[in-house]
C-alpha cells in the first residue's frame, strides 16, 4: 500500500494548545514539511515571537529561541549573522510583526537578511483575547474596537506582503491562505519557495499566511474558515508579490 500522508518528522506528535479551527497548526505543519523536504531540520533555528506563536518549540522539533514581542527579526539577525551557515526563520503574528515590531521587520527586510519570515495574519490579537490588531478589517468588531474598526481613527489594515515587496532587500514576498485544499497546496509550494530562497542564499523571504481565529472572531470553525474567503482575501489578495530570481 502506498503511503500518501504522514506527519513530518520535524513536527512533534503532540496535541497543540491551539483552538479548534485555528490555522496555526496547519501553518506549523507546512513549515515542518519544508524543513523535512529540504533536509534542513538539524541546521535550522526558529525564532518564536510573543502571542499564540510563542509555543513554536513545543510543536517543532528544532532549536528555538524565544524573542521579545516584535523583536524576532532582530533576534534572527543576531543568530544568522553569527551563524551564517544555519537556516533561520521567524514565526510571528500580526500584532507582533505589524504593530510593536514594525521597525524590526522593515529593517531586517531592508537589509536583506538571509532569513525567512512566516507571518500569521488572523486580524486580531489571539493570545490576549481578541483585541484590535494592525490587520483588523475595516468595521471589524473586536474587544477594543467594540463599534468596529474606524479607519478614519485607527487607519486601514496593513498589507504587509505588498508593503515589504517594495523594499530592495526583499527577494521573495507572498501571501497564502489555508482555507481550502487548493490554497493549502499552494501555501505548501510557496513556503517551500521561501525556504529555497534562504537555502540558496538569495536573500530575505517573507510569507504571510491568512489564518482563522474562531474563538476571538466569535464564530464556529466553519464560519471562520468561510470568512477568510469572503472577507479577508478580497482585502488581502493571495499571490506572489515579489520573486526576484523567478525561482
Amino acid at each position: 500500500m502506498k503511503q500518501v500522508f504522514s506527519r513530518p518528522e520535524s513536527l512533534r506528535d503532540v496535541q497543540t494548545h491551539f483552538c479548534p479551527g485555528c490555522h496555526h497548526g496547519g501553518i506549523h505543519r507546512l513549515v515542518a514539511n519544508s524543513l523535512d523536504e529540504f533536509g534542513i531540520r538539524d541546521r535550522t533555528i526558529g525564532c518564536a515571537s510573543v502571542g499564540c506563536s510563542v509555543f513554536l518549540y513545543a510543536y517543532l522539533d528544532i532549536d528555538v529561541v524565544e524573542s521579545p514581542h516584535g523583536r524576532a527579526p532582530a533576534v534572527a539577525t543576531g543568530v544568522k549573522r553569527s551563524r551564517p551557515d544555519r537556516i533561520v526563520f521567524t514565526y510571528q503574528g500580526d500584532g507582533d510583526l505589524a504593530a510593536i515590531g514594525t521597525s524590526e521587520i522593515i529593517h531586517a527586510a531592508n537589509r536583506g537578511e538571509g532569513m525567512t519570515v512566516i507571518f500569521v495574519n488572523n486580524t486580531t490579537y489571539g493570545m490576549t483575547g481578541g483585541q484590535m490588531a494592525p490587520t483588523t478589517m475595516p468595521g471589524q468588531k473586536t474587544t477594543t474596537s467594540p463599534y468596529g474598526r474606524d479607519t478614519t481613527k485607527d487607519g486601514s489594515p496593513f498589507r504587509m506582503a505588498e508593503l515589504l515587496s517594495n523594499l530592495d532587500g526583499v527577494a521573495f514576498s507572498a501571501r497564502v491562505s489555508l482555507d481550502t485544499p487548493k490554497n493549502v497546496l499552494q501555501a505548501k509550494k510557496i513556503i517551500n519557495m521561501a525556504f529555497r530562497y534562504q537555502i540558496e542564499e538569495r536573500g530575505f523571504s517573507f510569507v504571510e499566511a491568512l489564518s482563522a481565529c474562531p474563538t476571538n472572531w466569535g464564530m464556529p470553525p466553519l464560519a471562520a474558515n468561510r470568512r477568510i474567503g469572503e472577507e479577508m482575501i478580497p482585502y488581502f489578495p493571495l499571490g506572489i508579490f515579489k520573486n526576484r530570481d523567478n525561482i
Binding site: R41, D42, R43, T44, I45, C47, A48, V54, Y57, D61, I62, D63, V64, V65, E66, S67, P68, R71, A74, V75, A76, T77, G78, V79, K80, R81, S82, R83, R86, I87, S103, E104, I106, H107
Partner: protein, 356 residues
C-alpha cells in the same frame, strides 16, 4: 603581546572586546560612547567579527540576545537614553539565562539630559533595570586600564554565571585618554555552551532558549537558581580597592570617575594629618559587602561621594550601618557639577574636625 598604548577609555573597551573574542557588535550611535562603535566598525571585521549599526537600541540588544543564544560572544554599548530602551532585551536575556556584554557610558538624565558625566544610573544598572526582578553583573572601571581589563572580565563572568554583564562608566572615563597596557586574553575556565541554539546537528537534541516559564514551580525554581548564582558571584567575584584604609578614622567611598577625585582628596587629607581612607567598589553587583562590613568594624564613619543625589549610598548603608555612621556628599550630575579634589577635601575636613 603586552603593549603600552595611549588611548581613550572607550577605545580601550573596544580593543578589549576584540581581544576577548567578541564576535558580534550591534549598536546605535549615542554620545558619549560613539568611539566604541566607530573603533569596532573599523577593526572588528578585520578579525572576522560582525559589526552592525542597526535601526534602534532595542534591535541592537535583541541581536545580542540572538547571537548569544547561538553561543557566540556578543556585545552592545550605549548611554542613558539608549540603555533605558535596552532594558526589555536585558530582562529577556536575564530570564533566558543568556550571557552578553552591555557597556553603559553614563550621561546625565533624566530624559535627554546632557552629555557630561553622571553616576545617576547606578540604581538602573545594579537593580536590574527592567521588569521581573533580576540582577546583572555590573563592573565599574575608574581608569582606561580598567576599561580594558574589566571589559575582558565582563565577557568571562557573563559566560560563567549565565547572566548579562554591564561595564558601567561615564563620559569622563570613556572620553579621557590615558596610557594603559594591553594584554593577551586568556580565558577563564569557561563552561560549555551546551544550551546554545545552533541546530540539532550539534548533537545536543532540541535546545530551547526562552524566558517563558509556565510549568508548576518552574518560575519559582528559576528565581531560586538565579539567587544561588548571585550568591556564588558575590562570594567569588566581589572586587574592590582599598587606599590607606587600615587605620582610617573616616572611610571615604566612591566608584568610577568620582573615586579618582576622592583618592586625591584622601591623599591630601593624609598630608594634613587627617586619618582618611578610601574603599572603592570595582564590582557594583555583586557589591563587595563583606569588605565594607569588615572595614566598618575598625572605622566608625563612612562618607559616600557620588556624582548624583545618592544611590550607592543605599548599598553602603546596608553593608555597614550596624557598625558605622554613613553620611553622603554628592551633586546632581550636570555641566560644571563634577566635584574638585579641594571640594571633597573640605568635606573630609568637616567630618574630621578634631582629628588633625
Amino acid at each position: 603581546m603586552q603593549e603600552k598604548i595611549f588611548a581613550k577609555g572607550n577605545e580601550a573597551v573596544a580593543m578589549a572586546a576584540i581581544e576577548a573574542g567578541c564576535r558580534c557588535y550591534f549598536g546605535y550611535p549615542i554620545t558619549p560612547q560613539s568611539d566604541i562603535p566607530e573603533y569596532l566598525a573599523r577593526e572588528l571585521p578585520k578579525s572576522g567579527g560582525v559589526f552592525m549599526q542597526v535601526e534602534s537600541e532595542i534591535a541592537a540588544i535583541n541581536m545580542v540576545l540572538g547571537a548569544s543564544a547561538a553561543g557566540v560572544r556578543a556585545m552592545t554599548s550605549s548611554s542613558g537614553p539608549g540603555i533605558s530602551l535596552k532594558q526589555e532585551g536585558i530582562s529577556y536575556m536575564a530570564g533566558s539565562e543568556l550571557p552578553g556584554v552591555i557597556v553603559d557610558i553614563m550621561r546625565q538624565g533624566p530624559g535627554l539630559g546632557g552629555i557630561d558625566a553622571s553616576q545617576a544610573d547606578y540604581w538602573q544598572a545594579t537593580r536590574g533595570g527592567g521588569h521581573g526582578g533580576y540582577r546583572i553583573i555590573v563592573l565599574a572601571p575608574n581608569s582606561v586600564q580598567e576599561m580594558y581589563d574589566l571589559t575582558m572580565l565582563a565577557f568571562d563572568l557573563s559566560d560563567i554565571y549565565r547572566m548579562p554583564a554591564m561595564v558601567l562608566a561615564d563620559s569622563v572615563t570613556g572620553q579621557m585618554k590615558e596610557s594603559f597596557v594591553t594584554k593577551r586574553y586568556t580565558a577563564a575556565e569557561l563552561p560549555e555552551k551546551s544550551w546554545a541554539v545552533r541546530g540539532r546537528s550539534e548533537g545536543t537534541g532540541q535546545n530551547v532558549v526562552k524566558s517563558l516559564k509556565l510549568g508548576d514551580g518552574e518560575m519559582e525554581a528559576f528565581h531560586w537558581n538565579m539567587i544561588k548564582r548571585c550568591q556564588e558571584l558575590s562570594e567569588k567575584e566581589s572586587r574592590w580597592e582599598e587606599f590607606m584604609a587600615d587605620d582610617a578614622e573616616l572611610m571615604v567611598t566612591a566608584f568610577g570617575s568620582t573615586s579618582r577625585i576622592a583618592k586625591t582628596a584622601v591623599a591630601a587629607a593624609r598630608e594634613e594629618g587627617i586619618k582618611a581612607g578610601l574603599i572603592r567598589p570595582i564590582t557594583l553587583f555583586p557589591f563587595p559587602r563583606k569588605a565594607y562590613e569588615n572595614l566598618s568594624r575598625k572605622c566608625g564613619e563612612f562618607l559616600v561621594i557620588e556624582l548624583s543625589t545618592g544611590q550607592m549610598v543605599d548599598d553602603v548603608k546596608l553593608a555597614v550601618e550596624r557598625n558605622a555612621a554613613v553620611s553622603f556628599y554628592g551633586r546632581p550630575p550636570g555641566a560644571g557639577s563634577l566635584p574638585t579634589p579641594e571640594e571633597l577635601l573640605e568635606q573630609i575636613r568637616k567630618h574630621c574636625g578634631g582629628v588633625r
